[in-house]
């Protein structure tokens, strides 16, 4: 798999994961997830295939409805959900809009961007994945500039990974739909893999 292929795949995965953690998951996102094939050389080829196998060939409205009900229970509410998708919950005493939300917002601003109005806090997983997708796009479009990769790695290591493992474990344990179990497994593995890749790239390519 060429470096360029890897980069474009990276962008695609972040953009798609953002969609899959944002309610409601649309049919198009599910089709895209089912259709997107990773090359066999991709380190997470097997995890991706597992996720894809949880999406039926015929995405019918009944299954989508079940998915929405399950996602409501797992992530949305009402009341306590098994896997709140907010960094603050895991890192700041189980309350929301704590320092992780402010820190995430600050990171976005320092990079000169803001999330479009969605009603989601800055530390919601979908927002954080969106930022990683933005940085991935920047990595593709900015020639020779290590900054998108540096920011990605720092953001992943300092702000995403400290909580996302707990989140994914909670999601995996509580989910009854195979789709969410596999989604949790893939997300956790992918973020680890991407952090490792970023470390390698930054160490090998951008050190002078």
């Amino acid at each position: 798999m060429s470096q360029r292929d890897y980069l474009e795949t990276r962008l695609t995965i972040y953009a798609l994961l953002r969609q899959l953690f944002q309610y409601p998951i649309g049919t198009e996102a599910l089709i895209a997830a089912r259709e997107l094939s990773l090359p066999e050389t991709h380190p997470l080829y097997r995890e991706w295939k597992n996720l894809q196998s949880s999406i039926p060939a015929d995405i019918n409205p009944d299954w989508e409805e079940q998915l929405r009900i399950e996602m409501t229970r797992l992530l949305e509410g009402p009341g306590r959900t098994p896997a709140p998708p907010y960094a603050s919950f895991y890192l700041d005493g189980m309350r929301l809009m704590g320092y992780p939300a402010r820190r995430a917002q600050q990171t976005y601003l320092e990079y000169g961007v803001l999330p479009e109005a969605s009603g989601l806090p800055a530390d919601h997983l979908a927002t954080e994945l969106g930022f990683l997708a933005y940085l991935a796009e920047q990595g593709l479009t900015l020639e020779s500039d290590p900054k998108p990769f540096q920011v990605s790695l720092a953001f992943l290591q300092e702000q995403v990974q400290p909580w996302v493992t707990s989140f994914c474990v909670a999601l995996e344990n509580a989910a009854q739909e195979a789709f969410f179990i596999r989604l949790a497994q893939f997300t956790r593995a992918y973020l680890e893999e991407d952090a490792t890749w970023l470390q390698t790239v930054l160490a090998n390519e951008y050190t002078h």
């Binding site: 470096q3 360029r4 292929d5 980069l7 962008l11 695609t12 953009a15 798609l16 953002r18 198009e28 996102a29 895209a32 259709e35 997107l36 094939s37 409805e65 929405r68 009900i69 996602m71 409501t72 229970r73 949305e76 509410g77 009402p78 009341g79 306590r80 959900t81 098994p82 603050s88 309350r95 929301l96 809009m97 704590g98 402010r102 917002q105 976005y108 601003l109 320092e110 000169g112 961007v113 803001l114 479009e116 009603g119 989601l120 969106g130 930022f131 997708a133 933005y134 796009e137 990595g139 593709l140 479009t141 900015l142 020779s144 990769f149 474990v169 909670a170 344990n173 509580a174 009854q176």
Partner: protein, 945 residues
């Protein structure tokens, strides 16, 4: 970087042109974005500079609604302080208020609209868009209106003062049933003030500072406490703090020489600061007050300054005293069947109250001689008994005849003197509309308000809606018995509950669940239940639709809780609305638009979005009537204006004379108070205080403009006889229909009494012979108390769960590693996360019991027991054996235990060892005039588990 491994520079356009390997990626990226947009470096720099601001607003962590000032850092609320300019709390803030941020940013708060997908009670929901949720609601509302009339819909707007947008919408829709928490709070307690004054709650004159006109014409904040004596009977302002200034004011009054006496079966927080605690027997407040009145009447002596109890000047501003007195005295020669003593004597009262006769005499004498004084009765002591009205009536009479009403340092009916608000924004005009119904084959017309299920049904004199009796009507439907729509029958098809939790607090819990889950075939009898709130409580489990209301830091409205004089303050937007929550105004407009689109004939653009295009417009409408009270009293607030004219307008415009005076309507009109004006004036408008406001009618709201000791009387005007008095209207309805309301028929009455009356409470073996035989098997009387910082909705704020209070909320948890429970596929389900709570570190609701009683039963502190009533209702909890409650009495925290909504967080985990008081409440009786649940008329036996 080597050319072979360097990440390729590639534009998005180039990327989309990639070959086969990139086609799927292209598909994704053509459809889905990252959701971020670049901003200019200047914008970013500005945003990165720490942005700190402070916003004045009003708390809603409890119904006291203190004035608060919130620090906002980078758009996130970071600290809550008191607002020094709001006199009720003047900068003070309690632990609960300061913890408000945990409510606003609580992970358990409702974030999105939901529609039920399982059975009611299972807790299975699907997140939906606002549009879907409103479609669902509007379709059913329109269907029910067509089939059963708009009167089949109830909007219960809970326990916060900012309900106006909901009431406005539902009144416009055509239902007379808009209500709030007050209907299940303390209605008998308010009955006396309503009868005598047209008022509501009598409180001591201890709100400080008060703004007072000085002899030189200037205005000054007065901090003087003139009160010599406060008697709190069954009233615990230190925790039941709707009237929040009493916590501080009581202590300040005491420091200034006032004597404080607390009459309560339990040593309440207030009692700990009192000079005397009198542990009265449960449910005998009226007996004590009656004996005090008799003592004062029998021992008053105008010629003896040490016996000059009565201030006869009350006769100048009252009417009907002779009739009241005659009826009161008519009981003196009757003998009480339970103790064989003449009614209202000291010995009679001593037997019933278990207070020594000499102590009662001393209390009556002290109250008669120490002036100014205030006798104040409360929610738990009097509001929760079947016969609470009588204590309330006697309490008013005692304050009036001793000359304590409306004197500096005396007693004030706060309802009469607070600022008016709401005006047209209440939507009251809508329910004056004429409608037609077919009854027994005949077409009948009348006003929408005459379709009210209580006021023209079983509870004509309720004044506040009879929420405690809703379950019966949900199950049986409504039959109107009075007024033009007599015999009209309709079911209750839709129930909206907003910031309330009647399943836990609105009378018997099982009865509510039965009513909300009753079915006709496959359909729920109440076809639509909508739950609107920020926290997710038990009633939400039975809802079809859940709507996320913006928290109190994300919405706008007005506050004015029970002050001594006119003032009003703003609840303002502090932070942006979180998730997909909407304000009351947003919900009103969105649902109105939906109903309009679907063809509802009563919802008109000109009444809603055209009339109130912004939220501020709506609240400006509500402010147009402020302060709206009669200009009266001493010192006169504005000496330049005529007495008893209604004042309208900002304090500064009235002060500056920027007014027009309408002599015909008797109105002094200044510049309207607005949201913007409030923002520019520290969030609060304050008009001057005065006393003696009953003189010449003043603020009284009775027909005679006098204090009325009679409540159904005739007057002759222009040769025409007319019935007046607070009961007259209902008695006329009863006479016209020839039918007595069933609840007063139980008393042997045909209609409401003209003046003083007496009847016994229920489930009390010491005052009602009917229950004496049960005393041996059910030896305990059960009452409830409030756990201020952990009331029904705020128990999800975990920090507050760690603070013990009043022997009712104690760290009695056992050592548990809790499988955190969430709402799962099949109801409550372990989430997989575990939380360890070591023994003795988490507070739960407990059963307060006297140590001696515990010893007799072989109990130790912390033992788990079951309580059971003669009707077979049960609850369980751990006993707290203490000396702070009289023997024979148990006290539970209302809403403090047995909580089964996983939305409450850790409180939920101890539901099996904490008691729910409303598991025990008698569902078959309500207090006979206003239909209040009998929260404090309960007999139980105790079994160790």
């Amino acid at each position: 970087m080597s050319a072979s491994t360097k990440p390729n520079a590639i534009s998005r356009r180039d990327f989309l042109k990639l070959g086969a390997a990139g086609a799927a990626s292209a598909l994704v990226l053509s459809k889905f974005d990252h959701g971020f947009r670049p901003i200019s470096s200047a914008q970013a720099k500005r945003a990165l500079q720490q942005n700190v601001r402070y916003v004045n607003t009003a708390c809603v962590m409890c119904p006291a609604e203190c004035g608060i000032r919130v620090k906002v850092e980078d758009g996130i609320a970071s600290a809550i302080y008191g607002n020094i300019y709001v006199p009720m709390n003047t900068n003070g803030i309690c632990a609960k208020g300061a913890a408000g941020i945990q409510m606003v940013y609580n992970v358990n708060r409702i974030k999105y609209p939901m529609i039920r997908v399982g059975e009611r009670g299972e807790g299975k929901f699907k997140r939906v868009s606002w549009d879907e949720a409103l479609d669902y609601i509007a379709d059913r509302l329109i269907e029910y209106k067509k089939k059963y009339g708009a009167e089949s819909v109830i909007m219960d707007a809970g326990d916060v003062t900012d309900r106006d947008p909901y009431w406005y919408l539902f009144r416009a829709f055509g239902t007379p049933h808009v209500t709030e928490h007050g209907a299940i709070c303390d209605t008998p307690r308010r009955h006396g003030p309503k009868l005598f004054f047209g008022g509501k709650r009598v409180e001591p004159d201890i709100m400080r500072p008060v703004l007072v006109r000085q002899p030189d014409g200037s205005l000054k904040n007065d901090y003087s406490y003139r009160t010599k004596l406060i008697i709190y009977a069954g009233w615990n302002p230190f925790t039941a703090t709707r009237i929040n200034y009493e916590s501080r004011g009581t202590v300040e009054a005491k420091l200034n020489g006032a004597k404080i006496i607390v009459i309560d079966p339990a040593l309440s927080n207030t009692a700990t600061k009192a000079d005397q605690w009198i542990p009265i027997r449960v449910g005998t407040d009226a007996d004590l007050f009656a004996a005090m009145l008799r003592y004062i009447l029998e021992h008053h002596d105008d010629s003896n300054p040490l016996r000059r109890y009565i201030d006869w000047s009350f006769l100048d501003y009252s009417q009907g005293w002779e009739e009241f007195l005659a009826e009161f005295k008519s009981w003196w020669n009757k003998t009480d069947p339970i103790n064989g003593k003449p009614y209202f004597t000291l010995e009679w009262a001593a037997q019933r109250t278990d207070i020594p006769a000499e102590k009662i005499a001393e209390l009556a004498h002290t109250f008669g001689i120490l002036k100014p004084a205030a006798l104040v009765w409360g929610m738990n002591g009097i509001g929760h008994h079947y016969n609470g009205y009588i204590a309330s009536i006697l309490g008013v009479a005692l304050n009036v005849i001793t000359g304590n009403m409306e004197v500096p340092g005396g007693a004030i009916d706060t309802e009469l003197v607070k600022s008016d608000k709401g005006g047209k924004a209440k939507g009251e005009d809508f329910v004056k509309r004429e409608v037609t119904r077919v009854i027994n084959g005949q077409e009948v017309s009348g006003k929408i308000e005459e379709l009210h299920m209580d006021y023209y049904g079983d509870w004509p004199a309720a004044w506040d809606d009879v929420v405690g009796d809703y379950p019966r009507r949900f199950l049986e439907g409504v039959t109107l018995r009075y007024g033009p729509f007599r015999d009209h029958q309709y079911p209750i098809k839709a129930f909206f509950i907003r910031t309330g939790n009647p399943v836990i607090t609105g009378s018997n819990t099982q009865e509510w669940i039965k009513a909300l889950t009753a079915k006709d075939g496959d359909e729920y009898r109440v076809g639509l239940v909508v739950y609107i709130d920020t926290p997710f409580l038990e009633t939400g489990l039975y809802a079809d639709v859940i709507l996320p209301e913006a928290s109190y830091l994300e919405r706008m409205s007005l506050s004015d809780i029970y002050p001594s004089h006119q003032l009003i303050y703003l609840r303002d937007f502090v932070i942006d609305k979180l998730y997909e929550s909407k304000t009351q105004y947003d919900i009103m407009i969105a649902l109105a638009k939906k109903l309009y689109e679907k063809g509802d004939p009563d919802i008109k653009p000109e009444d809603f979005w055209e009339k109130y295009p912004t939220e501020e417009d709506f609240w400006n409408e509500a402010l147009k009537v402020a302060p709206g009270r009669a200009h009266c009293g001493v010192p006169l607030p504005y000496p330049q204006y005529p007495v008893n004219y209604k004042l309208i307008g900002t304090p500064d415009s009235l002060e500056a004379g920027k007014v027009t005076i309408d002599d015909e309507k008797k109105v002094v009109q200044g510049e309207y108070v607005t949201v913007q004006w409030l923002r520019e004036h520290n969030g609060v408008a304050i008009w001057p205080m005065s006393w003696h406001r009953f003189n010449n009618g003043g603020v009284l709201k009775t027909a005679s403009k006098k204090v009325e000791f009679v409540w159904d009387y005739e007057v002759e005007k222009d040769g025409e006889k007319k019935r007046q008095g607070q009961y007259a209207k209902y008695n006329k309805l009863i006479e016209a229909a020839g039918e007595t309301p069933f609840a007063i028929r139980e008393l042997g009455w045909e209609k409401y009494a003209k003046t003083f009356y007496w009847f016994e409470t229920l489930w009390n073996p010491y005052t009602n012979p009917e229950y004496a035989k049960l005393a041996e098997e059910y030896p305990f009387q059960l009452i409830s108390g409030r756990v201020h910082h952990a009331m029904s909705g705020t128990q999800l704020v975990d920090w507050l769960g760690r603070i013990p209070t009043e022997d009712l909320w104690e760290p009695f948890n056992d050592d548990r590693t809790i499988d955190e429970v969430i709402i799962g596929e099949n109801g409550p389900t372990p989430s997989g996360r575990k939380v360890h709570i070591p023994k003795g570190l988490w507070c739960i609701g407990v059963i307060q019991m006297n140590t001696a009683d515990g010893r007799k039963l072989g109990l130790r502190k912390g033992d788990l027991v079951e309580l059971e009533t003669p009707q077979g209702f049960k609850t369980r909890g751990k006993v707290n054996l203490v000396e702070t409650i009289r023997p024979g009495v148990l006290r539970l925290p209302l809403g403090g235990g047995g909580r089964f909504s996983p939305g409450l967080g850790l409180t939920y985990d101890f539901r099996d060892i904490s008691p729910n008081a409303n598991d025990l409440t008698d569902p078959s009786h309500h207090s006979p005039i206003m239909g209040m649940p009998l929260y404090a008329d309960v007999m139980v036996k105790v079994k160790k588990l």
